[in-house]
């Protein structure tokens, strides 16, 4: 009587995972290079307006932001229109000149992105723009959302 013997698999059934860390690190570096860290905490309400004919700013590292909008008060209400640069609210409009000039010295090709609340009045923005002119930061961008 023939005797059948079960054939046993010769090699181990494992997938080599030693390259996994390398793959994940590559992903990680990709994300580190293509993104910037999350922006500042907003102290003013900025609801962007919509526009149709807009451009993209690809070089995020050149951009510095100015936020203009009604101030968020601790009790959840909205106050007067204020200007915020980085993490602090600028009470004295004249100080914008020195702040932006210092930033311009660091990065010659700086673009100032103005993120203005759609309900804001134009007057405050004019004052800010005047300061930007004095600081010779001429390249501005009115940040908007894409119109659907």
């Amino acid at each position: 009587m023939a005797h059948f013997q079960k054939k046993q698999a010769g090699s181990k059934q494992e997938i080599p995972t030693s390259a996994m860390p390398d793959v994940v690190f590559m992903l990680l570096f990709f994300f580190m290079v293509t993104t910037v860290l999350r922006e500042v905490t907003l102290k003013v309400k900025v609801q962007l307006t919509q526009a149709e004919n807009i451009e993209k700013i690809e070089q995020k590292r050149l951009v510095s932001y100015i936020y203009i909008g009604p101030e968020r008060l601790p009790n959840g209400q909205l106050g007067e229109d204020k200007v915020q640069i980085d993490d602090s609210i600028i009470e004295d409009i004249g100080a914008i000149r020195t702040i932006m000039y210092d930033k311009l010295l660091e990065e010659q090709r700086m673009i100032v992105s103005l993120r203005v609340d759609e309900e804001s009045e134009f007057g405050l923005l004019t004052d800010v723009q005047e300061e930007l002119k004095q600081a010779s930061a001429f390249r501005v961008n009115y940040s908007t959302r894409r119109e659907n």
Partner: protein, 181 residues
């Protein structure tokens, strides 16, 4: 001679947890970063005026004055207009196909001046600027399609062709100081 066989432990570091560490880092970066691109309307502000130097004279016919008041009503060269008409009127003003003596001499000389009051809401100002940008985009697309067969947006950045279209229709937009009220 005494041969001592030293039993060495294998000098390998267990690397299996490396993937987990890298994943943790990756997830941290995914959560804390933003990838969305900033979009908006780009503009170059004019340098501050020197009070001692007279501004160069501009012919009245080359200047399109757009006034926007706090209610969002628009005046174009003293004629009331609605926001939807602005683009078509601007294209006509810049191109001036019928050689109208009241419209711009050449597209290169045309200047669009936008003036608002301090109370104008930002949204209306952007809508206005959007229309002006739309007019220029239409003109540049047209010129680019006629000369190179592709829309302006498809031309290579900083190429000679893009420069030529830009020279044909330069964006001369002036944001006037609002009146103090």
């Amino acid at each position: 001679m005494l041969l001592k066989k030293r039993q060495r432990e294998s000098g390998e570091i267990n690397g299996s947890s490396m993937a987990d560490i890298a994943f943790l880092l990756l997830i941290f970066f995914l959560v804390t970063t933003t990838i969305n691109v900033d979009t908006g309307i780009g503009l170059v502000l004019p340098p501050p005026l020197d009070p001692e130097v007279e501004p160069p004279p501009i012919k009245e016919r080359n200047l399109m004055k757009i006034l926007v008041n706090a209610e969002g009503l628009v005046l174009m060269d003293d004629q009331p207009a609605s926001l939807t008409e602005v683009k078509d009127k601007l294209v006509e003003f810049i191109k001036n196909p019928t050689a109208d003596p009241n419209l711009a001499e050449t597209p290169q000389l045309a200047i669009v001046s936008i003036k608002t009051v301090r109370q104008t809401p930002y949204r209306i100002y952007i809508d206005m600027l959007d229309e002006v940008m739309g007019a220029y985009r239409e003109l540049r697309d047209e010129a680019s399609l006629a000369n190179y067969g592709v829309p302006y947006g498809s031309l290579e950045d900083e190429s000679e062709q893009q420069q030529q279209v830009q020279d044909l229709y330069p964006k001369k937009i002036s944001i006037a100081e609002p009146d103090q009220e």
